[in-house]
């Protein structure tokens, strides 16, 4: 399943400037795992130490929140993911 991942701009320094990456996987978790294989420095940003999705990251699948399934959410060919980071300034 080919899935397009839109990476938050603040992480682009860890992805050689790329903000859109095509990966393969059947779930959100598998897609993120492939992303991390290609850009290992992203691992710390995307995941907690226990392997769950970071609590300051939200993943949107075709524009809809994946919570609470998150990493388990199934994806299909042509789907689009957005990695969104919480911001809190005012």
């Amino acid at each position: 399943m080919s899935v397009k991942i839109n990476i938050h701009a603040s992480f682009s320094r860890l992805t050689n400037g790329q903000t859109v990456v095509e990966v393969n996987g059947n779930t959100v978790g598998q897609c993120l795992d492939e992303l991390v294989k290609r850009f290992p420095q992203l691992k710390k940003k995307l995941f907690e130490k226990n392997g769950t999705l970071s609590r300051i990251i939200d993943i949107y699948l075709n524009g809809e929140s994946t919570y609470p399934e998150e990493l388990e959410a199934p994806v299909k060919d042509g789907d689009e993911l957005h990695i969104v980071v919480i911001i809190s300034g005012g």
């Binding site: 300051i56 939200d58 929140s65 609470p68 809190s88 300034g89 005012g90």
Partner: protein
């Protein structure tokens, strides 16, 4: 009932379809609580005062510092060291003396927040940290007061409107917390997001348009893109769902 002077002053907005004198009268009767008199709060308060909201209560415990002036446009060079709420109240009263502005120069705490928002129709989130936002979210749900969320970082901003009992709340949207002290930001970003929040407030009060509910609006100023994400009400939410009250965060 509007006075002759008010009819003149608000003439252009009363021309908007669905607004009219009735809409203006609703604004005049409205009481809005703005949490924060910084970057977001400056734009929100300015446009709500200009629009003729009846009572604006602004709460912030900070004093004006030089590094605020790139974005907090209610505070000027001459205000250095003053309480932000006093500086803000002065400008807002000069902009529109018909609006009652109340300045609350204290920190919002779990103990004080409920009393501070009592009697107000809407709460606007102009805070600079997530724990304070969760506090606002909880009190908004407890008191059944709509909450208008906004946040900024660099050239990026977010906004969402929360109607307690009906739509996803801030805790349905976010579960984590980040510690962010000196965050990067250019003044135009809170300007854009503050204006979006003020737009939502005016629409809600007047009763026109479609609100930004169950939708997170993400503004990317660097690429000049607005993206919208659908957010669902979480049945297990700690603030508005089954898990209500289980976690103090």
């Amino acid at each position: 009932m509007l006075t002759k002077d008010e009819r003149e002053r608000y003439d252009r907005q009363m021309l908007i379809r669905g607004f009219g004198e009735e809409g203006q009268s609703k604004l005049k009767k409205a009481k809005v609580f703005i949490a924060g008199a910084g970057g977001l709060g400056s734009g929100i308060a300015t446009y709500l005062a200009a629009a003729g909201v009846g009572v604006i209560r602004v709460a912030d415990h900070d004093k004006v510092e030089p590094s605020n002036l790139n974005r907090q446009v209610l505070h000027w060079e001459e205000d250095m060291g003053r309480k932000k709420v006093d500086s803000a109240a002065d400008k807002l009263k000069r902009l529109n003396p018909r609006v009652k502005v109340e300045a609350i120069g204290e920190r919002l705490t779990e103990a004080s927040i409920s009393q501070l928002v009592a009697g107000f129709d809407l709460i606007v989130d102009a805070m600079d940290n997530l724990p304070a936002r969760y506090l606002l979210n909880k009190v908004a749900i407890e008191r059944n007061i709509p909450l208008f969320h906004g946040a900024v970082h660099g050239f990026e901003g977010r906004a969402m409107t929360i109607i307690p009992g009906k739509t996803a709340c801030l805790r349905c949207l976010y579960r984590g917390a980040i510690v962010e002290g000196r965050f990067p930001v250019i003044g135009v970003t809170p300007g854009v997001i503050g204006c979006i929040q003020a737009t939502e407030v005016i629409k809600y009060i007047v009763g026109i348009g479609e609100l930004l509910t169950n939708r997170l609006l993400v503004y990317d100023g660097l690429n000049m893109k607005f993206t919208e994400f659908k957010v669902k009400k979480d049945p297990d939410c700690e603030h508005c769902g089954k898990a209500k009250g289980k976690n103090k965060g």
